[in-house]
């Protein structure tokens, strides 16, 4: 055995340049395989986690004429189902729920930027605020509250602008949000036009100097809100995946009637929540059928947030696919190289192998020479590839998934497995010529070609 190892060592030493290039090829293939596999698996794991987020159990319904929904440059309007006929309120949601058994909850949930203090003025000539808001001021309060507001103390928050969400009470139920302090507002509070506010845990700590928010009253866009609850810490992101719920303020939506008293704004979307994710597709179909019946086909758009995420995921996967093809080519070329070199070496040593076999060296031991040579190259290449891949995997993730790179955790185990598999192919290709040659009898091997 020692003699065999010494022979192989000698051979490796004699072809330093050639071996170095082969090792380099394997290390590049292993590096690519490990980095790419790690990136793909990290991204998949991240996406699988993300899909568990309540936001991706939501289905959003909004009018097709709504600008954000328009896919065509111009759309002809069906005046029988014109924009003003849309009444997206809790009654419309209840009707849709009745027709859609797969849906668990329905609610209003819209982003809202809240400004502490008076309603914004649009400069001289427009003291009553922007033209399309319908007058958001203290006149919008429920009469009883407006009266009490004038006498009670109002606290000044530390923040001038507060990121918020206008949500109806079922939102809290659907997302499983619970209060750490105080209570949530109820449907009756919303209907009565109560100006209540519920805060996320982090916002509650940072909104006032004394870090105590419960029970305090603050003026937002000219309307006085009472903080009735503080949520438990959730760590969840909002539906647009831009902010943590812990940093948001939640207020109830106010009713709107076209041409009415000017309270609130019309709601342009309804949100439905499907607890059983497997029923998301059927829920979309049920809701689409309901709204097509209610507002004519094509007038209302029903989209699941998960569909948007899946589209994003398939785009990233296509990128991974394109780069994987090149990484695979890299591995194939490294394999072909080691196969070619191994073939040449095997043929050159045909006679010496024949002699070894003739004097009693077993086929297995003769294979050992090649196994040592090829596995030394493959192992060295793999170690170098892995040594580069492990520390650089974070950087590679940021490079391959620029939008999420920093939030992804490297998949070390998968990288090691990929490295092993990337090494296996060149190893097998390197041993194949010797294995095939050693199938010949010693006499055939000794005979000149």
């Amino acid at each position: 055995m020692k003699a065999i190892i010494a022979t192989a060592r000698g051979f490796l030493r004699r072809s330093v340049m050639e071996n170095a290039l082969l090792v380099l090829g394997i290390s590049v293939a292993v590096f690519m395989g490990a980095v790419l596999t790690g990136a793909i698996l990290s991204y998949s794991a991240y996406m699988a986690d993300l899909l568990q987020d309540p936001a991706y159990a939501e289905i959003v319904v909004s009018p097709a004429f709504f600008r954000g929904n328009q896919s065509q440059a111009v759309s002809k309007l069906d005046m029988d189902a014109g924009p003003m006929r849309f009444a997206f309120d809790t009654a419309a949601a209840a009707k849709a729920m009745a027709d859609s058994p797969s849906v668990t909850w329905s609610y209003i949930s819209e982003e809202e930027s809240l400004r502490a203090g008076e309603a914004p003025s649009f400069g001289p000539g427009f003291p009553e605020g922007p033209p399309d808001l319908g007058g958001v001021d203290e006149q919008g309060l429920a009469p009883a509250q407006a009266q009490s507001d004038s006498s009670a103390a109002v606290s000044t928050p530390l923040l001038e602008r507060i990121a918020g969400r206008k949500v109806s009470p079922d939102f809290f139920q659907a997302w499983g949000l619970k209060t750490a302090q105080g209570s949530l507002y109820a449907a009756a509070d919303q209907e009565a036009g109560q100006a209540y506010m519920v805060l996320g845990s982090e916002l509650a700590k940072s909104l006032f100097a004394d870090a105590q928010a419960l029970g305090k009253r603050l003026k937002i866009d000219g309307r006085i809100y009472t903080i009735i609850g503080v949520l438990e810490r959730t760590g969840l992101l909002d539906a647009e995946a831009t902010r943590s719920l812990d940093q948001l303020a939640f207020i109830p939506p106010r009713s709107f009637s076209p041409g009415g008293s000017g309270m609130g704004r019309p709601t342009m979307s309804l949100t439905f929540f499907v607890s059983d994710r497997a029923k998301l597709d059927s829920a979309v179909k049920e809701l689409q059928a309901h709204f097509d019946r209610a507002y004519k086909t094509g007038q209302v758009l029903v989209t699941s947030r998960q569909a948007g995420l899946n589209a994003r995921r398939s785009g990233q996967n296509a990128l991974f696919g394109a780069i994987s093809v090149l990484a695979l080519l890299c591995l194939v070329v490294a394999t072909l190289n080691i196969f070619n070199v191994s073939s040449i070496k095997t043929i050159r040593r045909r006679r010496s192998l024949g002699i070894l076999r003739s004097i009693g060296v077993s086929r297995g031991k003769a294979m050992g020479v090649f196994l040592f040579e090829v596995s030394a190259l493959a192992l060295l290449g793999s170690l170098l590839g892995l040594a580069a891949a492990l520390p650089l995997s974070g950087l590679a993730l940021r490079f391959l998934v620029p939008s999420l790179g920093q939030g992804l955790a490297p998949a070390w185990a998968a990288q090691l497995t990929a490295a092993f598999l990337s090494m296996a192919l060149p190893l097998a290709a390197g041993l194949f010529p010797a294995w095939r040659l050693l199938k010949d009898s010693p006499a055939d091997l000794v005979r000149a070609e």
Partner: protein, 426 residues
């Protein structure tokens, strides 16, 4: 040349399987380089369309508050005089257009009602900033901008849907309900269609907010009190200036105009969507694609030539004695080296030709995957086309050069063999 081809054929026929694998490896290198370089080049060219001198920035009057939201400063800081001053004082800005969004709830033409996806009020230079091309009619004039004329330009699709054709749209009337820029919601104003422009690409629409209809920004502001407001955002095309330097210069201009506490933010993207990251992330994705493709394809090309090195190296080792005999009979070093270099070159060329033949279908496949990836990442409507012949030639040349380079070392070793040592072994 005849000797060269003969040598290659002889070598190939002597070891057909080995040569085939070697040529296959080189072909893969050449194939990947052709595809990778072509796609990378195409992506770089696309990226250049909105980088460097083609960079377009949206400038919004306002700032990011503590909650991370962009807060527009009210009343707006930019008026006609301020914008003219910016244009005059800053040579780095090659074009500037104020932007405002009129409220076009619905439009009426030929007794039918429509909603137009996006309508913008813009300045004269908007056409140049976005690179819009007119299909019919004209852009509005300075006089029309100054007098807030009710003139409108439509995109090709918009004009075709509303009027049935591009030519029919010119001179036609468009009734706008909802009062563009007016507070009176029921007010109706009539616009005259003066031009039709080519549909902007999906990327220009999503990334830079290229609209489906354009009116002078002065008309978008309406009349009376609203006209005094000025504009909240504008779009510029720059040359040779980074965003931070640009921001500082713009703030200086605003300060010099007496604006107290001037506030502005810049972003590459839709001027109506503050701090929109679409263009930035698209450029980043393109850079990632482009860099990954070119680096990987070059690595594969280099790796593919390792086989050439091994093959030539082995041949030199096997032919040591015959080389020495040839040298003793008068062959000079260059003749010996040239023979081996030509062998390497032969492998490079034959593998290269095979690779570029396969590059045509391979490019279509990879381009489809890259196109899909870019589309899903927000960059739809980009045409990656077929592989340009230049890249095929480049791949062939690179493959030949790489093989030549990798056969150089064994060829030099062959030329430096000591004649006496070789003859001793005979």
């Amino acid at each position: 040349m005849r000797d060269f081809i003969h040598g290659i054929l002889k070598q190939t026929l002597a070891h057909p399987a080995r040569s085939a694998f070697l040529i296959l490896a080189v072909a893969m290198g050449s194939l990947s380089f052709a595809v990778g370089a072509a796609l990378s080049g195409r992506l770089s060219a696309l990226r250049a369309e909105f980088s460097g001198e083609n960079t377009r920035y949206a400038v919004g009057g306002g700032s990011v508050d503590s909650s991370g939201s962009f807060e527009w400063k009210r009343p707006p800081q930019f008026n006609q005089a301020a914008l003219e001053r910016i244009r005059q004082d800053m040579s780095e800005i090659s074009a500037l257009s104020p932007i405002s969004e009129p409220r076009f709830m619905m439009v009426t033409a030929n007794k039918a009602r429509y909603t137009i996806r996006s309508v913008l009020g813009v300045g004269l230079e908007y056409e140049a900033i976005l690179g819009l091309s007119l299909v019919e009619g004209r852009f509005f004039s300075q006089a029309e901008e100054d007098t807030a004329s009710r003139v409108i330009l439509l995109s090709e699709t918009t004009a075709s849907v509303i009027y049935g054709g591009v030519k029919d749209a010119i001179g036609a009337k468009l009734e706008v309900g909802g009062g563009a820029g007016s507070r009176a919601r029921m007010e109706t104003v009539i616009y005259e269609v003066i031009g039709v422009y080519e549909d902007p690409s999906e990327f220009m629409r999503k990334g830079f907010g290229a609209p489906d209809a354009l009116i002078p920004y002065t008309a978008a502001q309406g009349s009376g009190m609203m006209a005094r407001f000025g504009v909240e955002s504008f779009i510029i095309r720059t040359k040779g200036i980074g965003p931070e330097a640009l921001r500082i210069k713009l703030l200086n201009v605003l300060s010099s105009l007496g604006v107290t506490d001037p506030q502005l933010e810049l972003w590459e993207g839709n001027p109506l969507s503050a701090l929109d990251k679409t263009v930035e992330s698209t450029k980043q994705s393109m850079f990632v694609f482009s860099s990954a493709l070119i680096s990987l394809s070059f690595i594969i090309l280099a790796l593919s030539a390792v086989g050439v090195f091994s093959s030539v190296n082995t041949e030199v080792a096997d032919a040591g004695k015959s080389i020495c005999v040839r040298r003793a009979l008068g062959a000079d070093r260059w003749t010996i080296a040239r023979g081996y270099l030509m062998k390497g070159l032969g492998f490079g060329l034959s593998g290269g030709i095979l690779g570029i033949l396969a590059a045509y279908p391979a490019y279509s496949l990879v381009a489809a995957a890259v196109g899909l990836a870019l589309e899903r990442l927000g960059l739809s409507g980009l045409e990656l086309g077929s592989i340009p012949p230049l890249y095929l030639l480049l791949a062939l040349a690179a493959s030949a050069l790489m093989s030549l380079l990798f056969s150089l070392m064994p060829a030099l070793r062959a030329s430096r063999l000591v004649i006496v040592e070789g003859l001793k072994d005979l």
